[in-house]
Amino acid sequence: MTAFVEYLLTGVSRGLVFSLLAMGFVLIYRVTRVVNFAQGAFAIFGGFITYSLLKAGIPHGVSELLAILAAGLIGLIFGIIAIGGDIPLLASLVITIGLSIFSEAIGMLIWGTTPITYSGLAGHDFVIFGAFIQRQYLIVVIASLVVFVAVLYGFGRTYFGKAMSACASNPYAARLSGINVKRMGLIAFTLGGALGGLAGVLITPLSPLTYNADISLGITGFAAAIVGGLTSPGLAVLGGLVFGIAEQFVAGYWSPSNETAVALALLIVLLLWQAKRVPAGGLE
């Protein structure tokens, strides 16, 4: 029972990190129709920049915040490269794959190949149903939930969110309705970058990151986003939780080396399910 609770709670918090990545995918896709395969890179930059800032003596809280802002800025730069010009959608997607590979190279050059971690915010572990849970998990849950509410509200309930959605739904009509579609896309990339950065900031104290961890994080985030057809932030959160919990149970009751295999198998099942659910010609 203790192990079960531990796997479940750890899975929930890791799942919320995946949800943040998934939400970044959804946000960018909903506004630009581009699947941003560099989403995992934002998490790496978020974690690595926090590590460097903490090492430079900048206190906790400030370091994390600066790293998230930096990831947002990186998101903006990636957005300018991927959608800034008059680029077809497919080319933008390929550019994001290139940016992901480029980010790995930058990460390796600056931070090396050794896994990087740092201690989370100080505090004692706590016990739930006999299971010891690190305080960092609680921070993950609180930070993620606050962000989810803000994004879900911002997208679903505000006029601005509707205008952003209009860009992906019908860019032609949106443009002629006075919306600067490109600018909205860049805002989405910036927010996607910040969400990815937050995911990295939260997960690095729990699981050391290497320069190439963006692939596994990106794939899991993408799989979670697919649960909501890449358009529903709410279902993306649910997808992230499912993947996080499944991963912990597989690692705990089976073998940690099978985590990625299970995530990929789940992704294939989800893609097949989506292909059946969505009519040929588009998601909407």
């Binding site: 994004v151 505000t158 006029y159 509707k162 959605s165 019908n170 032609y172 009509a173 006075g178 805002i187």
Partner: protein, 285 residues
């Protein structure tokens, strides 16, 4: 009186009928195209077109299929940029401006095909049309800061007014896609009106409409015309255009071949031979 925006004032004349009137003060040269040209590959869709539209005018734009009418609209709205020529709107050179910048100046367009925003209600679709009035950003929207609330309320008011103008306000919470074609076309006009345009470009708004829907559209356009909204109307139904337009320009093979009052156009031999033909001219007469 309820002040909305810097260009228009509108007031409820009769709240029970949801009738709203807005007015533009001055009259004069408003849109001026000079030598406007646009090619696609080897085809010159618009070829050295020059014309001007006065403030408050309702200009008809007719011509056979492929005459360049929709391309001309897109040169004015900013969807296409001209290869050559100039466009002056309300004192601004606009030929190189983005569509968003032109919308901010007050140019609005309704489309020949219905273009809706999926997954949104009628009201939300129309509210998107008021985007050029907003200045708030994502963070302000997420935290519901005062400017966001103020602007959102302003757009909602404009959208409700626009929906009342086209007569579909009771469907405001329906999904836009669930409406029949006639209402979807009305929704497109409401979306354009929500931007409180100075110039409204209507690309075949009556196509596919039933008789009663056409009459409603005609009455709406008359109402807007009476309130001095400048409009350019592309329409295949010549009878429809001659009923409402004060002047008509005729386009053929990318060029303006005639311009004048509906009566002058009906009798213009070039128009008859190039476009109207015996059968249609009979119908018009």
């Amino acid at each position: 009186m309820n002040r909305v925006g810097e260009f228009y004032e509108f007031q409820r004349v009769d709240a029970s009928q949801n009738e709203v009137v807005y007015g533009v003060a001055n009259v004069g040269e408003f849109l001026e195209a000079r030598d406007l040209t646009r090619s696609f590959g080897g085809v010159q869709a618009v070829n050295s077109v020059s014309f001007s539209v006065a403030k408050g005018e309702l200009r008809g734009l007719i011509g056979p299929n492929g005459a360049g009418k929709s391309t001309l609209f897109h040169l004015i709205s900013g969807h296409y940029y001209p290869d050559r020529g100039s466009l002056v709107f309300d004192g601004h050179r606009i030929e190189n401006m983005s569509p968003a910048a032109r919308a901010k100046l007050g140019i609005s367009i309704t489309f020949q095909a219905v273009h809706l925003f999926d997954g949104m209600t009628v009201l939300e679709n129309v509210m998107v049309g008021g985007h050029s009035w907003t200045k708030h950003e994502w963070l302000e929207a997420s935290f519901r800061l005062p400017r966001c609330r103020r602007e959102e309320q302003g757009i909602r008011e404009k959208a409700m007014w626009a929906l009342a103008m086209v007569g579909i306000e009771r469907y405001k919470y329906h999904l836009a896609k669930s409406l029949p074609l006639g209402m979807q076309r009305a929704l497109q006009i409401a979306r354009a009106l929500c931007s409180m345009p100075k110039l409204l470009l209507l690309d075949e708004p009556a196509s596919g409409l039933r008789g009663d829907e056409r009459r409603e559209l005609l009455s709406l356009m008359e109402k807007l015309h009476e309130n001095a909204l400048t409009m350019i109307l592309i329409e295949h139904d010549v009878d429809f255009v001659t009923k409402i337009a004060s002047r008509i320009s005729v386009l053929d093979q990318g060029q303006v071949i005639a311009e004048g009052t509906p009566d002058e156009i009906r009798e213009d031999p070039m128009v008859i031979s190039a476009y109207l033909g015996t059968a249609i001219s009979h119908e018009v007469n």
